[in-house]
């Protein structure tokens, strides 16, 4: 059977599974809709978090990015994993004890301020919208690359599937589809990785063969021979200070991203929240420790099979032919010597490789069966859809819960709140789909902004809200203004207005780390110059620090329907 028929089967089967899971996990109340009835066991929430976190970019582009960055690719590897340590030790258990549905809920109650609640809700919407546009685009790209359909058609199919399980099942439907999506995406990532590791080194475990075999040593030698620097040489693309700042901004940003934080509201207890963070990072690290192995192996293999090879011989390889057709691989014999040369110089280089090829071509390069290639397509779609669903829920809850139910119409009944939540998720899907089909040119820029904003606003404001009882409303608001103002103007200035990175040469990606420090200093100082928080807030702070006892309830429960969502499994 051809790759294309296998791809239709794999994508069709996985989509049918997502729809079935979504249908089985319908919910009838807001607690089910926003926090899956708080009945998700730690290990499953870990898998769902991993799928929520790992996007189309992690799945398709990250290994390729590392392959081209060498050592400096660690900013993504450590930056996108180390944040879970911060989340597990500093935020997740306490937010779970607080127990209410959203990040703006905590900020609004802790600082006893609806202004802070509104600012937090708007930040959450902005961060999530910028992110989700890229995911919808990712769905379209995978469809077009593997099945040759229009990108727009692919986006529509993705929208239809997400609409079904997110509207029916809310967080509960999303959670259990994410668990299924994690299984698909990790299989799709590991099978080709094991195959290429075995093919090149004879050791089937990628992490082990990466460390123990001499592939990286040989790759270093080849790079030096061709006039590049060694693959393992640090700080070739960025200064050490920039590597430190980007890594830290991505870590703090990860810990502060609302769609990740809300996943920890869905577990049954504080204890489960702690273990769940461990499982989440375990599942993420399965992919993230495999990625650098794929990056190095694929780079070695590409150079080894293409460099100094006669053009005709290279073109006779199946995978070269098919990837050249997509435009992701370009071969051109510029000096007409009949052979291909890879050089650091643009003018003489004859092999141009798009970074997405590293993951996408691995199964073909390793000579795997067509069904594995189809599985990679299904894995890319699973990664994109699972992240999109989590983000859409945050957008919906920010509008329907934080803004509508808490600020505009606190009298709304349970049924009405649920209806508004469903409407908002639908609206968010339509907006995300629009941006997926007509991507704004600045998506990549805005992602740097999302992390910078999360690092310079949410992370410090939640952290100090838990660990510093003296932090008050004025401190938090001024801290957020300074953090967002500095980080935002630096990124906008640098990326759009041609401003030099004047702050010690730190790039727009890393400036959130500095914004975070400014935010914290401002918050601590302003809080100590103004009146301490009220007795009620002090009770709240004391209660989130202790696992035992009732969660703080600042707001009476709305009238609820009789049917409660039951924890599944």
């Amino acid at each position: 059977m051809s790759v294309e028929s296998w791809t239709y089967i794999m994508v069709g089967a996985t989509f049918a599974a997502y729809l079935a899971i979504g249908y089985r996990n319908r919910v009838a109340d807001t607690r089910g809709f926003y926090v899956a009835g708080q009945g998700v066991p730690a290990i499953f929430n870990g898998a769902a978090t991993a799928a929520d976190w790992m996007s189309a970019a992690s799945f398709i582009s990250m290994a390729g990015l590392i392959s081209f960055m060498g050592f400096d690719g660690t900013v993504y590897l450590m930056g996108w994993t180390g944040g879970y340590v911060l989340l597990a030790l500093l935020l997740a258990p306490y937010l779970r004890k607080f127990g209410k549905y959203t990040v703006p809920d905590f900020i609004g109650d802790r600082y006893d301020s609806n202004k802070a609640r509104l600012v937090a809700a708007l930040c959450a919407i902005f961060v999530s919208l910028t992110y989700v546009a890229g995911q919808m685009r990712g769905v379209g790209v995978v469809f077009s690359r593997f099945l040759g359909v229009e990108i727009a058609t692919g986006v529509f199919i993705g929208m239809a599937v997400v609409t079904f399980f997110a509207i029916l099942g809310g967080m509960k439907g999303i959670t259990w589809t994410q668990v299924a999506q994690y299984s698909i995406l990790i299989l799709a990532y590991l099978i080709p990785a094991v195959a290429i590791a075995t093919k090149l080194t004879g050791i089937p475990i990628p992490q082990l063969s990466f460390t123990a075999s001499d592939i990286v040593v040989r790759l270093n030698q080849i790079q030096v021979d061709l006039g590049f620097t060694e693959y393992t040489q640090p700080f070739q693309t960025k200064s050490m200070l920039d590597v430190v700042c980007i890594t830290f901004a991505l870590m703090a940003g990860t810990a502060g991203l609302p769609h990740i934080i809300v996943r920890f509201y869905t577990v049954p207890s504080v204890r489960a929240a702690r273990y769940s963070a461990g499982w989440a990072l375990f599942f993420i690290a399965l992919l993230y420790t495999t990625a650098p192995a794929i990056a190095a192996f694929a780079r070695y293999n590409l150079i080894d099979s293409l460099h100094d090879t006669p053009v005709e011989e290279a073109r006779s390889l199946d995978w070269v032919e098919s990837w050249e057709a997509t435009g992701l691989l370009a071969l051109e014999d510029r000096n007409n010597d009949g052979r291909l040369q890879l050089t650091p110089d643009e003018g003489t280089n004859e092999i141009t490789i798009d970074r997405d090829i590293i993951v996408l071509s691995t199964p073909e390069v390793a000579g795997l069966a067509p069904w594995v290639i189809a599985l990679v397509a299904a894995g890319g779609l699973a990664a994109a859809l699972s992240t999109a669903a989590g983000l859409l829920l945050v957008i919906s809850s920010s509008i329907a819960h934080d803004i509508y139910a808490r600020l505009i119409n606190p009298q709304a009944t349970e049924a009405r709140r649920l209806l508004v939540g469903r409407l908002m998720i639908f609206l968010a899907i339509v907006v995300a789909g629009y941006f997926g089909i007509n991507p704004p040119g600045f998506v990549a820029e805005v992602v740097a902004f999302a992390f910078g904003l999360a690092a310079a606003s949410f992370f410090p404001v939640i952290l100090l809200g838990i660990f510093d009882g003296r932090t008050n409303r004025h401190g938090a608001i001024w801290g957020m203004l300074v953090g967002i103002g500095f980080t935002g103007s630096y990124i906008v200035g640098n990326r759009f207005l041609g401003m030099d990175p004047w702050f010690f040469g730190i790039s727009a990606q890393g400036i959130g780390a500095v914004g975070l420090v400014f935010n914290m200093v401002t918050t601590l100082v302003v809080s100590r110059l103004t009146a301490p928080p009220s007795a009620e807030v002090r009770v709240l702070v004391a209660s989130v620090r202790i696992p035992k006892g009732q969660a703080h309830r600042a707001e009476p429960e709305p009238p609820r329907s009789s049917q409660r969502s039951n924890p599944q499994l």
């Binding site: 590392i66 050592f71 690719g73 660690t74 590897l77 450590m78 994993t81 180390g82 879970y84 340590v85 911060l86 597990a88 030790l89 500093l90 258990p93 992490q207 990466f210 460390t211 123990a212 075999s213 001499d214 990286v216 040593v217 393992t232 040489q233 640090p234 700080f235 050490m240 590597v243 430190v244 890594t247 049954p268 207890s269 504080v270 204890r271 702690r274 273990y275 963070a277 461990g278 990072l281 375990f282 690290a285 993230y288 420790t289 650098p292 660990f467 004391a542 620090r545 202790i546 696992p547 035992k548």
Partner: protein, 105 residues
């Protein structure tokens, strides 16, 4: 790591009174100390071994890889996972010691 030994050697007699203001303060203090120890390890591994020491240790090898590169592309992530599970396990014991754990369902 000294925190671990201390926790284990606490005899039943030295158990603080449960539920009081003072014992909760002490619980929070010990939680913060544990967090400080674990985040120090987190910092030393991710920023120390993988970034600041990457160039000075490039002659050292872990397996076939330069030491700093291995920490940056592999080792740090293993340590991160270990730190979170260790924290969860230690906090289970601390919660029980101070009787602030949640009721089992």
């Amino acid at each position: 790591m000294s925190d671990v030994e201390e926790g284990q050697s606490a005899s039943p007699d030295s158990r603080p009174g449960t539920g009081t203001e003072a014992s909760r303060r002490e619980y929070w203090k010990r939680n913060r100390r544990l967090i400080a120890v674990l985040l120090t390890i987190w910092f030393v591994v991710s920023y120390g071994l993988a970034i600041f020491l990457a160039e000075p240790t490039s002659g050292m090898r872990i397996g076939q890889l330069p030491a700093g590169f291995w920490w940056a592309h592999q080792g740090s992530m293993f340590v991160f996972v270990g730190l979170i599970f260790f924290y969860a396990w230690r906090m289970d014991r601390l919660d029980r010691e101070y009787d602030v754990h949640e009721d089992e369902d």
